[in-house]
Symmetry: C2
Subunit: 166 residues, 2 copies
Amino acid sequence: MQKQVSFEKAYKTKYPEQIVIVVAKDKKGKANPITLGWTMIASYKPFLMAIAVHKGHYSVKCIRHSKCFTIVYPSVDMAKAALFFGEHSGRDTDKLAQFNTRTAPAKKIDSLLLTNAVANFECRLVKQIATGDHITFVGQIATAHINTKKKKRLYSLGTGHKLGAV
Amino acid sequence: MQKQVSFEKAYKTKYPEQIVIVVAKDKKGKANPITLGWTMIASYKPFLMAIAVHKGHYSVKCIRHSKCFTIVYPSVDMAKAALFFGEHSGRDTDKLAQFNTRTAPAKKIDSLLLTNAVANFECRLVKQIATGDHITFVGQIATAHINTKKKKRLYSLGTGHKLGAV
C-alpha cells in the first residue's frame, strides 16, 4: 500500500544510487573532478550518456569550456576520493593533485582518465539542457576504457554520503 | 590500469543498475507500463526526473498523448512483472491486466500507481529531448508516494535481465 509523502521523503528510497566522477578541464588546463549521482545512459546508437550538474558548480564552466568530459565509474577503493571530489570546489583547489589521484591522458578528448576506476567513458558534449537548478549535459562516447583488474563499482548507500560496495 | 575497449564492452560494468517502471496512458485510456534502466533525477528545485525511452516504444506515444507519467521504483517482489513489462509491447497487450498488477489511481495526474512498489513519483511532462535512438522525457514531480511497508528496490544485476536485490 502507498502513502502520499513529500518528494524529499520519497526520493530517499533511491539508494543504493550509482556514483560517477566527471572530469573536465578548465580554461587553464586544470582537470577538475566532480562526484555525481544523477547520470544515465541516453542512447545506444550512437552511445550517449547524460549527467545532471548543479548550475552553481565549477564543473559547468569546465564542461562548457572544453566541450568534453570523462565519465568515470569509480571503484570501491576510490570512496575517499569520490567523497573529497564531491565536497570541494575546483574553483580554488586542484582536487586531483591534492588527493594524489592516479590519472592517464584520455585518448580521443582533452581530458583525463582515472586509472583506478572500474571504467572511463570519453564524451564529447553534444547537448546541454536547462533542467531546473541543474544543467543536463549529454555526451557522445568517443571511446571507453575498463580496468585490467576486476573491481567493484562504488555506490551511495544512503543519506549522509555513505559510500561503498553493494 | 585501464585498457581501451568498445562501449558495448565497457558499459557492461554498469551493474547493478537501478530499474524503474514508467506508467502512462494511451489515447484509449489504457495505462501502459514499461521497464527502464535509464533514468536519473535532473533537478532538486523544482524536482525533476528524466527517463530515456527508445523511439520505437509504444510508451513514447503514451507519454506524448497524456503529457504525464508515473515513475515507479519497483520492489524486489515485482521482478517478474518488471521483466514482463520490459519484454512486451503495450500496442496489443494490456500488460497491467494480463499480469494482474495491483494499482491505484494517481492523485494529481491522469495515471496509475503500482501499489506494491517501493515508491511512485507522479510526473508532468515538461521537456522532451531527442537523444540518439531514445527520447529523453523530463517530468516535474506533482506528488510522490512510498510503501507503508519497508521494501527493497529492484535492480538489474547483469546481462540477460537478471533482476534482484542488492
